[in-house]
């Protein structure tokens, strides 16, 4: 019986899990950071932004890896360093520091939970889980596996927040597993296929749902309703579209896009399916966990939805924009900007065994990461070059289109063959299942018969013994009756014996008959059984044959699919290239036209002067004067027309230039301007204003105040330090939460959407808390600046501390002027200047 199940399941598997193979190539490929740069250069048409300055690189690395701007000392030491390799050295230093662990715990927290609050698992437990995982250098896939398979017991307590904070509600989890880990926003597909995105289907949604709908929230009544994730061992998944409520519901097995179908689910015939059965007291634990399988399949290195999503999110964190953008919205109509690069990154992340630090390091040392936010100069490519390339590309596109059309035809041919084979398989499968059922039935009957025969045999033996004994008794009774013929009692006894013997004989004959009947039936059954077995063997061999055919058809299909995809991606690449050529062409043509019109305008503008001079002379005849005036009038009109023509082309040129520049940004030819996240804002404000030192002093004095009654001997120094750092942490967390409340998107909403609101501005401008941060308390920047009386030095220190760079001469001059007007309240004036820089764009953005 096991054999038959295996066959069926394998066939039902469809594509099955593709095996992941490392490149056979023995030669070492170029390091990832170089391959990134090559891919970006290839798509950029020779217009890459400059490499950013040291100060810019320093600030962005600190922000991206430590979540804060660098301190004055850090800026000074990096700028003074002459080692040519200093940027790579810095990246290694940042990745190796504890601050990286703290900050990346925040990055992953926001990535996975999107600032959902809730108290089932405290934020502290969850952050500790993330921080520990990052400190322990856990690979990215392992972290995700822990999150998806956690049940809230033991070590998995913190990791369970992802599931528990969503109440283990299977729809909430389906949506967020797909969005967070597979870059697919399937929310609409809960109730119907996505109305505007073809790729997002209801079937895909429920494939994931089927992994999750057996899991449930368990609240332990014996422990203050502490929550856990339970999982039942049963539960199927059906769905129908709200748009077609009258159609039959579809059923689905657990499956992920890309052929990841739940493998053979062990059938525990009659066996208890639970390790811990569901009850009011405990969360159920099944022997076979579908959620556990989900954790495994989602994070499988061959699951490219997962690997691409993972690298894309890390890339977006570093670069300010995903290769797929937005990061949770990967589908046919929103393709990656650089599909090859995305694949390279995903494959390399797998090769790096999902090592987060190494992956970030490769990005950080690439030239692509280090580019300036300033746009490159005018394009260096000429219109003629562009036209030439465009012609070649157009031809290539036409050819590829034809090729891909024939691919499509062949593909659908194979697809229909495969589906024909599959339906044959399904028929055979059904026949096998019928025969198996019949076999089971026959076997059961045969066994019944055997048992009946055995019972009959046993009975027969018993009866025979009775008969033997009675026969002896009959003979003796007969003898006695013969000897004492008048004794009625004896005669009766004899008769009774005789009757019993006759009766027994009859019974024995009956039993013998039924044994014979059974035997006959059993022989007939045996014949049927062997016929069924023969049929099964036949079906099985047919099945094996069919399976081969299916495998063959599938193989062919895969080959075609690969070819088709290759053609398609080539086609897309050519198209992309063509469209960027178009942008260039458009811009170049328009700026040529603008130049021409500017020249004409200048010419036209020059003319009226001569005429006016003529008109100004008073010696012409009236008619002459008339005609001069008319001419002047006409020239005025011409001038207005030329001005109009110039203006409209100038506007169009600006638009074309903006489009071109936008495309440079999308192509990572120039660095995106990233707004600081709320945590980066808090971290940078604390660093810039020296609040950490102030908090330390405050904490120490608060601690001392709380312990003033203690003798020095009573104080445990280790404990004291821990308590003081807790007090510092409290103050830092308070600043962080202020910024999160003001600057973050609402909980549960995508956190990558920028918002500048009036209440943020009013907070920074007027709130007492900001004024307090700017007060010259001990340890702070403002306190330090109180004792500096050279305005140039004040300027230098302000810029280094707040904007992480030296002030320019103009900036020093501005500050000197500002201070010179405020001789009587220098300290207030310095606070205002510090505020001005804190509220400036340069502080608000990561450039």
């Amino acid at each position: 019986m096991m054999l038959y199940r295996h066959i069926c399941v394998c066939l039902a598997l469809g594509i099955g899990i593709p095996t992941f193979a490392n490149d056979d190539d023995s030669h070492q490929p170029a390091p990832l950071h170089q391959r990134i740069d090559v891919a970006i250069a290839e798509s950029s048409l020779g217009s890459l932004a400059q490499i950013a300055s040291d100060a810019e690189f320093l600030r962005r690395s600190y922000l991206d890896l430590h979540g804060r701007s660098p301190t004055v000392a850090e800026v000074n030491s990096f700028l003074a360093e002459t080692e040519p390799n200093k940027r790579a050295v810095l990246v290694d230093k940042l990745l190796g520091a504890d601050e990286f662990n703290d900050f990346f715990a925040i990055v992953l927290d926001v990535m996975f939970l999107e600032r959902r609050g809730g108290s089932r698992i405290s934020q502290e437990e969850w952050k500790t889980f993330l921080r520990n995982a990052i400190s322990a250098k856990q690979p990215f896939d392992q972290i995700v596996r822990s999150i998806l398979s956690a049940d809230g017991t033991g070590d998995s307590r913190g990791a369970a927040k992802f599931l528990l904070q969503r109440g283990v509600e299977p729809h909430a989890l389906t949506r967020d597993v797909a969005r967070t880990f597979l870059a697919r926003d399937l929310q609409c597909a809960q109730c119907h296929d996505h109305p505007i995105i073809d790729d997002y289907s209801q079937a895909e949604y429920y494939g994931i749902f089927a992994f999750l709908n057996r899991s449930y929230l368990f609240e332990d009544p014996a422990d203050g309703n502490k929550s856990y994730v339970g999982e039942k061992a049963e539960g199927t998944t059906e769905f129908k579209s709200v748009f077609f409520p009258d159609e039959d519901a579809s059923q689905t097995i657990p499956r992920l896009l890309g052929g990841f179908v739940l493998e053979v689910e062990p059938r525990l015939d009659g066996e208890d399916p639970y390790v811990v059965a569901p009850s009011k007291e405990t969360a159920a634990v099944p022997k076979f966990s579908r959620r556990g399988q989900l954790a495994r399949l989602v994070t499988h290195p061959a699951n490219e939805h997962f690997t691409k999503n993972s690298v894309n999110r890390l890339w977006a964190h570093m670069m300010g924009r995903g290769i797929v953008d937005p990061v949770d919205f990967h589908h046919g109509d929103n393709p990656p900007s650089h599909p090859q690069l995305l694949k390279i990154l995903a494959d390399e992340f797998v090769n790096l065994k999902f090592n987060i630090r190494e992956f970030l390091r490769q990005i950080a040392v690439s030239e692509t990461y280090q580019r300036s936010v300033a746009f490159p100069d005018e394009p260096t490519v000429s219109l003629a070059e562009i036209e030439r390339e465009a012609t070649t590309l157009s031809t290539a596109v036409t050819e590829l289109k034809a090729a891909s059309k024939s691919d499509d035809e062949e593909y659908s041919l194979f697809e229909s063959r495969l589906s024909a084979e599959r339906s044959k398989v399904a028929r055979v499968d059904n026949a096998i299942s019928d025969v198996c059922k019949r076999l089971d039935e026959h076997n059961k009957q045969q066994q019944n018969l055997k048992k009946a025969s055995q019972d009959a045999g046993k009975q027969l033996t018993e009866k025979q013994q009775q008969l033997d004994a009675l026969s002896v008794a009959v003979v003796s009774a007969k003898k006695v009756a013969d000897v004492l013929p008048d004794d009625e009692t004896l005669a009766n006894a004899y008769n009774q014996y005789k009757e019993r013997v006759d009766q027994l004989n009859k019974e024995v004959a009956g039993i013998n008959q039924s044994i014979a009947d059974n035997k006959q039936q059993s022989e007939a059954l045996a014949k049927q059984l062997s016929a069924a077995k023969r049929k099964l063997a036949g079906l099985k061999s047919e099945c094996v044959g069919l399976a081969d055919m299916v495998a063959e058809a599938r193989g062919a299909l895969r080959v075609f699919d690969a070819r088709r995809k290759k053609h398609e991606s080539l086609l897309n690449e050519r198209r992309r290239r063509l469209s960027s050529l178009d942008l260039y062409r458009d811009y170049l043509k328009k700026s040529d036209a603008r130049r021409e019109l500017a020249a004409r305008l200048a010419e036209t503008e020059a003319r009226p002067n001569e005429l006016n001079q003529l008109i100004a002379r008073e010696d012409q005849l009236p008619a002459e004067r008339e005609s001069l005036l008319a001419k002047a009038d006409q020239q005025q009109q011409e001038l207005a027309a030329a001005k109009n023509a110039y203006e409209s082309v100038a506007v169009e040129t600006d638009l074309a230039s903006a489009r071109l520049r936008k495309s440079w940004e999308r192509r990572f030819a120039v660095r995106s301007l990233k707004p600081l996240t709320p945590e980066q804002l808090a971290g940078s404000a604390i660093t810039a204003l020296g609040l950490k030192a102030r908090f330390q002093l405050e904490a120490e004095s608060e601690w001392a105040n709380n312990h003033k009654d203690k003798e020095p001997a009573e104080i445990d120094d280790g404990k004291k330090q821990t308590e003081i750092s807790a007090l510092v942490h409290e103050r830092v967390a308070q600043v962080e939460s202020t910024f999160v409340t003001l600057f973050a998107a609402p909980a549960g909403a995508p956190q990558d959407v920028f918002s500048a609101t009036v209440d943020q501005a009013m907070f920074l401008a007027n709130d007492g808390q900001v004024q307090d941060w700017l007060s010259p308390a001990a340890g702070t920047l403002l306190k330090r600046l109180q004792s500096v009386d050279n305005p140039n030095l004040v300027a230098g220190e302000l810029y280094l501390a707040i904007l992480s760079r030296p002030a320019t001469d103009t900036e020093k001059k501005t500050i000197t002027e500002y201070l010179s007007q405020r001789m009587s309240d220098q300290n207030k004036a310095i606070q205002e200047l510090a505020w001005g820089l804190l509220a400036s764009l340069e502080f608000r953005f990561n450039y």
């Binding site: 969503r166 509600e169 729809h171 909430a172 949506r175 926003d185 929310q187 809960q190 505007i196 995105i197 709200v242 937005p326 949770d328 919205f329 936010v373 300033a374 746009f375 301007l673 600057f743 973050a744 998107a745 609402p746 909980a747 549960g748 909403a749 995508p750 990558d752 959407v753 920028f754 918002s755 500048a756 609101t757 009036v758 209440d759 943020q760 501005a761 009013m762 401008a765 007027n766 709130d767 007492g768 900001v770 004024q771 103009t810 900036e811 501005t814 500002y818 207030k828 205002e832 200047l833 505020w835 001005g836 820089l837 509220a839 400036s840 764009l841 340069e842 608000r844 953005f845 450039y847």
Partner: protein
């Protein structure tokens, strides 16, 4: 009159704050204000801009004592129905002033949200979606503000008026903080809208000038929509601080204060009108507390006494100023009250057939849509739910409820796609 409230929701514990009358009179006249807020040339354009005022009657208004009276029936209660300015349409006698405005108002008497829970039902009514563990949905005000957003404006678009000023809420969900409501206090207070102590206006100008100069330098390197938005937010803040008078109802003539009513709701409605005049897209005022599990009739006499005065004054005023045709006014409540009258003369929660009133922009005036049966125990005609209402509100101000917003590249429908606009209500 002391209410006995059976369910312990936040609505019940909300205190009614008395107006303290401690507002200081500022300079400036009412007439000059609009010119300050926007250039005169834009005034014409702005007149066509649409907006919504939502009056939320907190706790659950009784439809029997307001829009759908059933006098003389078991559920009818003690009050009569009175005729209105629309022949054939009657409302409860607790709304005598409103009755005179009925030719400008339409009623929907057949709302069923299928939830008798304050929070869940309020969520549905305000957001057009059932509450879900999966996604938080934006408030009507956020959707409307974003939908009607025409680029930079000096004032925030989504304002809730409450007894005290508060921080920005998170009711814009995925639409982002820009469209979340800011809470203005009845006394015109707005958080952080005054200079910190020790800072004079001159010095404030200087520090902002320094900030702008630093920005100019940065913008030479790179300028994006995001840098524009950030720069803009400071200018907006400064404008808002300069024009705090918009929030000051004491700038209204005494006659207006008298007309709207000298109590919180009156002042809030007056403030709301000032805000709408300043082109704020969405304003919500609330009136509490209609959750009358006991003494339903006495409470409705008191509450509707206030409501009738303020609401009728508001409708009349908006119409007089020519603003009603571009302003949709909605009177909503999370649900109605039960036909059964309990032993405490109270009515329980009731979602299976209650009423909502609308007036103004895009709405056919004087219409009555839907009906309940004789005793008001069920809807007998044209049942609608929160989702249909949400579609209708959007459609009324010219937004297509089936359209999509683009949220950072993600298409998001304006309203739940399964809802239907109540077409016969639209003008």
């Amino acid at each position: 009159m002391k209410g006995h409230y059976a369910c312990n929701s936040s609505e019940h514990t909300m205190a009614r704050r008395q107006f303290l009358g401690t507002l200081t009179a500022g300079a400036g006249t009412v007439a000059g204000l609009n010119a300050l807020i926007r250039p005169a040339a834009a005034a014409q354009l702005v007149a066509k801009k649409k907006r919504i005022l939502s009056i939320f009657l907190n706790g659950g208004l009784s439809q029997f004592e307001s829009w759908d009276p059933k006098p003389g029936t078991l559920s009818g209660g003690p009050f009569r129905a009175i005729p209105t300015s629309v022949p054939g349409t009657h409302v409860c006698e607790l709304l005598p002033q409103t009755a005179k405005q009925m030719h400008r108002i339409s009623l929907i008497r057949s709302v069923n949200t299928a939830s008798d829970d304050h929070n869940l039902s309020r969520y549905m009514i305000e957001r057009g979606h059932a509450k879900s563990a999966i996604t938080d949905y934006p408030h009507l005000g956020a959707v409307v503000t974003k939908g009607l957003d025409e680029g930079p404006s000096l004032l925030p678009g989504h304002i809730h008026v409450s007894s005290a000023a508060g921080a920005r809420s998170s009711n814009s969900a995925y639409l982002g903080p820009k469209y979340a409501s800011i809470t203005v206090g009845t006394d015109g207070d707005l958080k952080n809208s005054q200079l910190p102590g020790g800072l004079t206006a001159t010095i404030d100008d200087q520090r902002h000038a320094f900030r702008r100069q630093a920005n100019e330098r940065f913008l030479l390197r790179r300028r994006t929509a995001e840098t524009d938005a950030y720069v803009q937010s400071y200018e907006q803040a400064l404008q808002l601080m300069q024009q705090r008078e918009i929030f000051d109802v004491t700038k209204e003539p005494e006659s207006a204060a008298e007309k709207y009513g000298k109590f919180d709701l009156g002042r809030q409605c007056l403030l709301a009108r000032r805000l709408l005049e300043s082109d704020i897209s969405f304003v919500q005022v609330s009136h509490s507390n209609y959750d009358t599990h006991a003494e339903n009739f006495n409470y409705h006499i008191k509450l509707l006494g206030e409501f009738d005065q303020s609401f009728s004054a508001l409708i009349d005023d908006l119409a007089e100023r020519g603003m009603l045709e571009s302003t949709l006014v909605i009177v909503m409540s999370e649900f109605g009250r039960s036909p059964d009258i309990n032993g405490d003369y109270g009515r329980e929660h009731w979602c299976k057939g209650f009423s909502i009133a609308m007036a103004g922009c895009g709405i056919q005036a004087g219409a009555v849509i839907g009906a309940t049966n004789k005793d008001g125990t069920e809807v007998t005609d044209r049942q609608v739910d929160h989702n249909d209402l949400f579609h209708t509100y959007l459609q009324a101000v010219g937004l297509d409820p089936t359209a999509h917003f683009n949220i950072g590249g993600r298409p998001v429908p304006l309203a739940d796609p399964t809802g239907q606009t109540i077409k016969e209500l639209l003008s």
